[in-house]
Symmetry: C2
Subunit: 225 residues, 2 copies
DNA sequence: AAGCTAACGTACTAGTTCGTCCATTAGTGG
DNA sequence: CCACTAATGGACGAACTAGTACGTTAGCTT
């Protein structure tokens, strides 16, 4: 009796428990950093106990790596759904930039985990071979767009795919990763809804403007109107 | 006897001790984060003892705030030496971007401290009134450049000074802050000397290209050659 | 329905880490 | 030259925290 041990609402559910641990752990690590995160605090925030964390993950560090792997895998999944092949180069790269913007905007905890992992010089990420091969697809896609753009004459700047990815990431990551210090220093919450659309557009515009070469070559010669 | 207690080379030197504590603490915090940094480890890396850290700074958190204040003050000092008033708008903003690039490139520990402070939601920075007023000068400078650029017709994009500062910071910060995860995922060390000059140019170019408006307005119409 | 195992909980330990107590020395003012 | 204070050092303690030993229960299999 007590609770009905129904086949769908059963109380012993390894999958659910594992998932909840990962979820709570992600928040906790993202909020306090690796060393600052408390295993006991995680346990207090879950519907299970600390014992279960060690039952499923063995150690704080292994839990952290599992959280990292899950977060990165989600990004890869999101990126793999992108279809910009049918677009003209300029619109393709703009769309990619805006999709990256949207994904980062929707997953601030992921950005924070990346920041934390960088504090630790990516020592955990490097050890996980599941993660170290995640860069390929995106740069491959960008390469294709860049080639098409140079062939059509739209792109005149000679940056490579990795450079362009860095630029897109930089613009999309900063407003999330540095929102708090920036907010304190400049009195503007970069993640506030009233800035979102403008910053999204800025991101696409900046990348397109750079690639289509309005920089040194044309400065002072192109006028508006 | 033993050591000559000369007036210049004396062994009891509060200033020197304080300075060394701050220096070592900055490295330790930047490397391990706030919670991950160990006071005992700092002491081991100094020519004095842990007792002195508490004698001068009272607590780990106060030491951390002192480190933050010192690092931010150095940036402000660097920024205040910038003189771009005499340059044309396009060159002024490019120069500002490149100077920011150079400063960040030369002070990676500062970037890491900022990352760490963002993990903690800038709770320490916000409490220090010495720091919260540091944003004014830069945005003031950018405002002037933007006004001049619009007056001359060089700038057609309607971003404000804070937006432009965000963009410059994003491009300059990312390659330092995310160098480790980026390196592991894409096989490129963003801080390697062979990429430095190109990225510096990219940064200036991107900002100028964005402001001079080669984005949506002109895409597909401006061809190279 | 009995037994077996995966899933779970409690209470505890060993080690670490921030911070302090008390003693000592360098340098300076009278 | 003596006393007084700023500066320094070493050893210690109290609290916290990752990880574990041991016991219990749910639910499936046969």
């Amino acid at each position: 009796m007590s609770q009905s041990p129904a086949p769908n609402g059963r109380r012993r559910d390894a999958e659910r428990t594992r998932a909840e641990i990962l979820e709570v752990a992600q928040r906790e690590f993202a909020r306090h950093g690796y060393a600052g995160a408390r295993v006991d605090e995680m346990a207090a925030l879950m519907r299970t106990t600390k014992r279960m964390i060690y039952y499923y993950f063995g150690a704080k560090e292994k839990l952290y790596i599992a959280v990292l792997e899950k977060a990165y895998t989600e990004v890869r999944t999101a990126e793999s759904t992108i279809d910009v092949q049918h677009l003209a180069p300029v619109e393709a790269i703009r769309t990619l930039a805006e999709l990256t913007f949207d994904h980062h905007d929707a997953h601030p905890d992921f950005i924070k985990l990346v920041s934390i992992e960088n504090i630790h010089q990516a020592e955990h990420l490097r050890r996980s071979e599941m993660l170290t091969n995640l860069g390929g697809p995106v740069t491959g896609l960008i390469s294709q767009i860049l080639e098409a753009g140079r062939a059509s004459g739209d792109f005149v700047t000679d940056a490579d795919a990795v450079d362009v990815h860095m630029m897109i990431s930089a613009l999309c990551v900063f407003r999330i990763a540095n929102q708090y210090t920036f907010g304190a220093l400049f009195g503007r919450d970069l993640t506030a809804p009233e800035h979102r659309a403008r910053h999204r557009e800025m991101t696409g515009e900046a990348v397109v403007a750079y690639l289509t070469g309005n920089g040194r070559r044309l400065s002072g010669q192109v006028k508006a109107g």
